[in-house]
Every structure is written in C-alpha cells, then in structure tokens.
C-alpha cells in the first residue's frame, strides 16, 4: 500500500504514521473545544512540531529552561536548550564600527606572482585555471587591474566594554589590520579584480574551543566562475592560499546579452564568508564574514549621479547582524559544537559590536542589512521608545542585494540567514530624536518562526514555547520596544543637504528579467529530516558526488519543497539569482519578493517554484540550506554546469 503527503507525494509508512498522529492530536484538541493553535499553545498542549506535549511535560515550555523576557532594551532573549544567559552588557555605549574599504595591494607584493592556472607547488589550492582570462583576455586581463591580498588571521578585540577582549578570526587586507567583519570591497562592474586569500590562522591548539583553521572564501551572490566561487569542497589549511578572480561582469555577457551582459542582472550588495564544508558555522561565527559592494553607472555610490542613491560610504552603510552567546563564567564567546538544530544567541552584534549606536544626520541613508546567521531570522522595525504606538515606515530598495524595480514602502521587513535587504531610512522626520532599529521577531530555536496554519506566506502566528514569567504565550512579532534593540540612531537636529532620491517619488531601478522562457528541465528538491539527518531528496552532502548536471546557458525551473514540519529553511543557490515564480502555486504576495534573489526562505509545508538561468561559466556549485548548522550537517548538494550537456534528472 502506498502513502502520500500533503503534496500528493509518496512517503514511507513510518512518515505517514507520524503525519496521521500529528493530525489526530490536533483534531482531538479541537473536539475538546480548544479551537485555535494559540489556545493550545497557551495551555502548553501543542509543540512546534504539532505534537501533543505528554502529560508529565505539561508546561508552557516543553524544551529547556528559559528566562522571562526582561524589560525592553536589555537585549536578553530566550535561549534554547538549557543554555545559561550571556553576561549582562550595557547597550549603546560603543559607536557602530563602519568597516573600511578594502585596500588594494600592488601586484609586485604578491609572492609568488599570480598565475592563470593553479600554482600548486607554491601552496595554491584552486580547482581549475581561471576561466575569465582564458575566455576573453581583453575583457578579463590577467593580472586584472585591481589586486587584493587578504589574510585570514586571529585577532583579539572587544565586542562590548563589559566583556573581556575576545579572540576571533577576521580578514587583514595589509592596511587596516585584522578586523571582523572584514573590510568592505568597493567593486565596480567592468573592473575585474583578483583577491589572494591566504590562510594565516593560528593552529588548532589556539582556536579557543571552536573554529577549524581550514578555509574557502565564498563570494555570496557573485556571478563568478566556479574556481573563484569559494566552493565548500575546495578548502585549505594554514599556509596555503587561493587566488580568486572576480570578473565583476553582468550575467549574460557571453550568452544572452553579449558583449556586456544584461543590465537588469546588476548586483549591488554581496558578501564574502568562509564556506568550509561541515565547519562553516564555526568559522563564520568566529568572524570570517565581510561585505562586497558592487557599483555601476546607475548605482554609483554617489547621490549626485545615476540613481541618486545615498553616497557611499558616508550615507550608504553596510550592517552585518550576528547573534551570539557568551559563556556565563568566562564571559568569552561560546559556540555550541553539538547542536543539530541551530544556534540562537542572546547578544546582538552589528558590525562586530554588541548594540552599538550611530550618530546620523536628519537626511536619507541607505543601509545594507545582512543576516550573517547562524540561525536567526529578523523582522526589522524602527522604534521610538517614548512613542511606541507610532508606526515608522521606511523603504526597501533591494532584496538580497538586487535593486527592486521600484522602492517599496514597509513598516517592517524580514530576512533570514544569508539574506540581505537594502533599506532607505529618512531621518529628517526624527531630527533631534533617538530611534532604534529593532528586531521584533521572536525565535527560540533553530526551527525559525513558526507559522499559523493555514499559512498565507505573509502572516506568522504565535510562536510556541517561549513564555514570560506569567506563562502567557507571546506572538512571534513582539510588541514595539519588547524585541531586541539592535542599533541606536542618534539623529542630530541640524538640517543638512540631501541630494539623494526621495523613494516616495517612485524612481525606477532595474526591470525584472523575463521569466517567460521554456525551462530545459524542471527539477524538484525535497528538503527533509530523516532520522535527524538533514537531507536533500533523501540524500546527504558528499563532496565526491555531483548530483546533476546543468547545461551551460540553459534555463531551468527548480521546485523546492519543505517536508521538515515546522522548520523554515533559507535555501541558497550559487552562481545566478533566481526569481520566485510561485509559493504553493501562487505568485509571491510580498512586493519585496518580486525581485531577483539568491536565498529563498522555504517555509513549513511550502513548495516554492524558482526560475533560473545558468549562464556564461562552467564548473561546480552547491545548493544548500543557509541555516549554517543544517548546512554543516549535510543539507547541501553539489551539482555542476557543463558546456553542451545537462542531464534529465528531475529529482537529483
């Protein structure tokens, strides 16, 4: 006899039994007059997994011990799994660090000189010769005009005045010392560049309890050839290096839109991070992340020209968000080496400092928000603490670093691990005031926010198992001022010049490239948890295996299906952006999702249909969950692109 899930797909008998039991539990409770999920959760009868809490375990919290939510601004939240809270820290004492622009290095300072094919004898670890200069040496000269040398190094620095100095890992460009986040690349379309990434980390005996001194640096969202992508399976130890050639070229340049590519495929907010297979969570948590801002003749970084977006870097500020835990005794940065679910921190860092402040002028700013993980989702709001009922809208201009067709006005925007969103805040209406960027999304474990059925794609209902002292279950969107105050803006009262475009005038940026292309193939990817093992189509990450082959310059549709119950998975695919064609059969309802993206949140019981092109380059790339704990536990698959090839595997 065959068994089927909600998607009409065959499932095992065991899995079917689980599904039936969960449904039965819910029905029994509804019969008993407990009609809403919120009621059940209030009584502690239903867990996030849809399972009944056993009688002996009746409590509003079924998992671990946790603290009551303390008063606003204290930055303490529920921690999963019996973890003690981090030590108390004062908020808004440190100014927000703004990472310096990565310094170039003279070509002659690279020793040995860079080579087109890997210089294995000298300790270079790279999978193939550089495709770009071999493809078109006049467009992609070798060596390219801009050269960088980045050393991954340990550094001891303070993340809060109330914590001891922390030894973490960062990037050193030879000019700005070792910093984390690393320096921000200011890159330009049409100007190729090369970065030599050198592993200069200390030996394992000095890692402070976590972190693998074995690296591969991925440039997230870049339209990069595979050998420079920073593939998780190409990693190297201390003393080795990899030369990564970044062509900074628009998708389509050597396929659909020669010779310069499709302007509507312009990227703007990228980031780089370590991607060492199975150890990405430790290494990124330890600090191996940074921004890469890519400009062109429209998104110029100068508000006097092009799209007139606020000028970089003064009014265009990249923000890396990270949540972390500090040991309650040693007060040192702590990492749970043993979790399979995800890591949720109770301290919120922006650009490497816990709850910093930023003095701003009463004008428009562009902020590039990055959720660097490991596992937390954020819903950003603007909050004025002495005027909590005031709704403070702002503008979203880019999703995952890709400018939208037009700005979208919102009161909140949500991102998950690895997602970015560029926003415009107009501080002129807050002149002389202090306001906050606040995360009001409640999340207590690696599952992500839990939706209320029927799931509409927009509405998220009560989050389970995180209660205050009185036992009241809170909504997953906390009241204004009761969330995590991430960053304080101190707005000066002195009026200033602002030549940036007013988003209210509805400027146009790029058009969305047409998705009206017949796919060569439709592939399905089922994300599941099989006996606790994170899986893609019932299989597990293996660096020695390509699961399928795409044909260079072809178009495909991918259907991502989440079968893991109440888990949300942020799925990232390397090389080219996708567009979301549908969520459970319907076009995306959120205006900010009508965009190009490189990470898609696949919510519980959701089936998301994506449009792809795989243009210009060949080689290997991964698809993976960017909850880095899931990623490190095999929720990843390797595939590759070959010229004039491509298989017909529908379920790779």
């Amino acid at each position: 006899m065959a068994y089927y899930n909600v998607f009409g797909e065959k499932v095992s008998r065991k899995r079917y039994k689980e599904m039936v039991n969960a449904a039965k539990n819910r029905r029994e409770l509804i019969t008993a007059g407990l009609t809403s999920r919120r009621d059940l959760m209030k009584l502690g009868l239903l867990t996030a997994g849809g399972m009944l809490v056993a009688k002996s375990g009746l409590s509003a919290r079924a998992y671990g011990q946790q603290q009551a939510i303390p008063p606003s601004g204290s930055n303490q939240v529920c921690l999963p799994g019996n973890q003690p809270a981090s030590p108390a820290t004062r908020a808004f004492v440190d100014p927000l660090p703004i990472m310096p622009v990565t310094a170039q290095t003279p070509l002659h300072s690279l020793s040995p000189a860079p080579t087109i094919c890997p210089n294995t004898e000298a300790g270079e670890v790279r999978a193939a010769c550089h495709q770009a200069p071999e493809l078109n040496p006049s467009m992609f000269p070798f060596p390219p005009p801009r050269i960088y040398q980045m050393r991954q190094r340990a550094v001891t620095l303070r993340q809060s005045p109330d914590l001891p100095p922390q030894t973490v890992w960062g990037f050193n460009d030879g000019t700005h010392g070792t910093i984390t986040p690393g320096p921000t690349y200011q890159a330009n379309y049409g100007t190729p560049q090369l970065t030599r990434n050198i592993n200069a980390l200390p030996p394992l005996t000095q890692n402070g309890g976590f972190g693998m001194p074995s690296v591969t640096t991925h440039l997230h969202n870049a339209h990069n050839p595979s050998e420079s992508d920073g593939n998780p399976c190409d990693f190297y130890g201390i003393g080795s290096f990899c030369d990564q050639y970044y062509p900074n070229v628009l998708a389509g340049f050597s396929s659909t839109n020669p010779p310069n590519g499709d302007i509507n495929e312009s990227l703007s907010t990228l980031w780089y991070h370590d991607h060492r297979v199975d150890f990405t969570s430790q290494n990124t948590y330890k600090g191996l992340v940074g921004f890469y801002c890519l400009f062109n003749e429209f998104d110029t970084g100068n508000e006097e020209t092009g799209f007139h977006l606020p000028s970089f870097p003064q009014f265009d500020i990249p923000l890396v968000f990270a949540d972390k835990v500090y040991d309650s005794e040693s007060h040192l940065l702590a990492f749970d080496l043993f979790t399979l679910d995800g890591i949720i921190g109770d301290k919120f860092l922006v650009n490497g400092k816990i709850q910093p402040f930023l003095a701003v002028e009463p004008r428009r700013y562009r902020f590039r928000l990055l959720d660097s993980g490991p596992s937390r989702f954020y819903s950003y709001f603007l909050t004025e603490l002495n005027n909590l009922n005031q709704v403070n809208p702002f503008w979203v201009i880019a999703n995952d670093g890709n400018l939208l067709p037009n700005p979208v006005e919102v009161t909140t925007v949500r991102i998950g691990p690895a997602e970015r969103v560029d926003i415009i805040i107009d501080f002129s209406k807050f002149a002389g005031k202090t306001i906050y960027l606040e995360n009001r999304l409640l999340q207590i474990n690696g599952q992500g926010p839990v939706p209320t059925p029927p799931f509409t794609g927009q509405h998220f209902g009560p989050q389970v198992e995180c209660s205050n002292a009185g036992g009241t279950v809170l909504s997953d969107i906390l009241p204004a001022g009761a969330g995590n105050l991430l960053l304080q803006f101190q707005v000066s009262s002195k009026a200033v010049r602002d030549n940036s475009v007013d988003p209210a005038t509805n400027p146009s940026f790029y058009s969305l490239p047409s998705t009206n292309v017949a796919p060569r193939i439709i592939r399905t990817f089922k994300f599941d948890r099989l006996n606790g093992q994170w899986s893609v189509n019932g299989q597990f990450m293996d660096c020695n295996e390509f699961r399928f082959t795409a044909s260079q310059n072809s178009s495909e549709q991918w259907i991502l299906t989440n079968l893991t119950g109440d888990w949300t998975h942020p799925i990232h695919i390397h090389l080219e952006e996708h567009q979301i064609l549908s969520r459970n059969g319907l076009p995306p309802s959120l205006a900010v999702e009508r965009s190009r993206k490189d990470v898609v949140e696949v919510h519980p019981n959701e089936r998301v249909q994506l449009f792809f092109r795989f243009r210009d380059w060949v080689g290997k790339y991964p698809i993976h969950c960017h909850n880095v704990i899931h990623e490190d536990h095999a929720m990843m698959a390797l595939w590759h692109i070959v010229a004039n090839g491509g298989d017909n595997i529908n379920v790779p």
Partner: protein, 216 residues
Amino acid sequence: MQDLSRRNLLSLAAAAPLGRAFASVKGAPAQDADPARTKARKKIQEQHLPNVPLISHEGNEVLFYDDLVKDKIVTVNFFYSKCDEICPMVMANLVKVQKLLADQVGRQLFMYSITLKPDQDTVDVVRNYRTALGAAPGWTFFTGTTENIDKIRKGIGFTYPEPAIDRDTSQHIGNVRYGNEPLMLWAACPGQAHTKWVAESFEWMVHPELNRVQKS
C-alpha cells in the same frame, strides 16, 4: 603547545599493538599548559560529555569521558539491536567505513556505538549484535542504564526540539558524532552518507590540516 602531526600519529600507530584499547592521541597536550584551554575543555566535558558509566560488549565497565573520550579521537553513534529501519543501514555503512580506515581505527581513532534500549540490549545481546555485524577491533559497543545513555545522547546533541519525537526511539538521530577531544574539534555527519565521504570526514579529526580540491 603542539599540533597533531602526521609523524606523531604514525609513530603512535607503530608503537601501539593492534587492538590496544582506547589509546590517547599522542602529541596532543593531555595536561594542557594553557589554563584557558583546560577550562574550555572542561566546559565542553561538563556540558556535553558526561562522565557516566557504560558497559562494553566485553563486559568491562568504563566511564564515558574518562575512559572513552578524553585525549582521544572518537566517533559516537546510537543503535539498538531490534531496530529494523535506520540502524541496519547506518551500522552496515559504518562497517564499510571501518574497513576503509582499517589502519587507523583502534589506533588513532576509536569508534563507539551505544544502545538506546539497554533493557533489551544486555551485554550478551550487544556482543552478539556486534559479532553478527562484523565489526572489527577498535569499534566498541556499549550498554548501560537508560538514564546514563540518555545523558550521553542529550550531551552530544542528538535530540529533537519536539519532545514527543525526541522520546520516540524509532526516530532516533541517525548521525554520527565525531571529534578530537584534546583539540576541541567536534562535528557530525549523517550515518547514511556515502561511505567514502564519512571516512573522509572522520579523517579530518586525525589530519585537520589537509588541503582538498574537487575537480569538475
């Protein structure tokens, strides 16, 4: 401070007679000179590696941390003898992994499998299961009390956030925890992942310095 080096490990391999039980990682600082490291290791032990008694398939009583994990490179997974879905697949895979790592298992690397149903899986049952499986020396099977085994399972993070699923032994976590205790290097992989890849992952604990490229 010393790094684990291949030379050290090879010299250890030469010195250790085959089947020598639970040798320490040579070259790793058992008595750490660095107090911060000592503290960090102790913290990991307290939170994740409980020092509770187990009984081996040979009938020996051992302490999980002191005798099995401390100063060693280890793999840990769970099974029970009457488990007919996940266990046979994972355990058969581990038999093949052990063969691939035959020169290391029992010398640099120790494999441990612990029953989740100690009431059924007595020492005799566990020993017979191990024999039938074809596990070689260097891979030890354990039983104990339900309470102690649950402490180890929860300690190494093989849990679900949903309590009802967490209690259901048939859905138990099929991953294999692997680690180098003195270096505080810990990770896990699916027990059902491809044999060669599981073996390669385990080897990172012995040779964390290795470089790798995957041609395409």
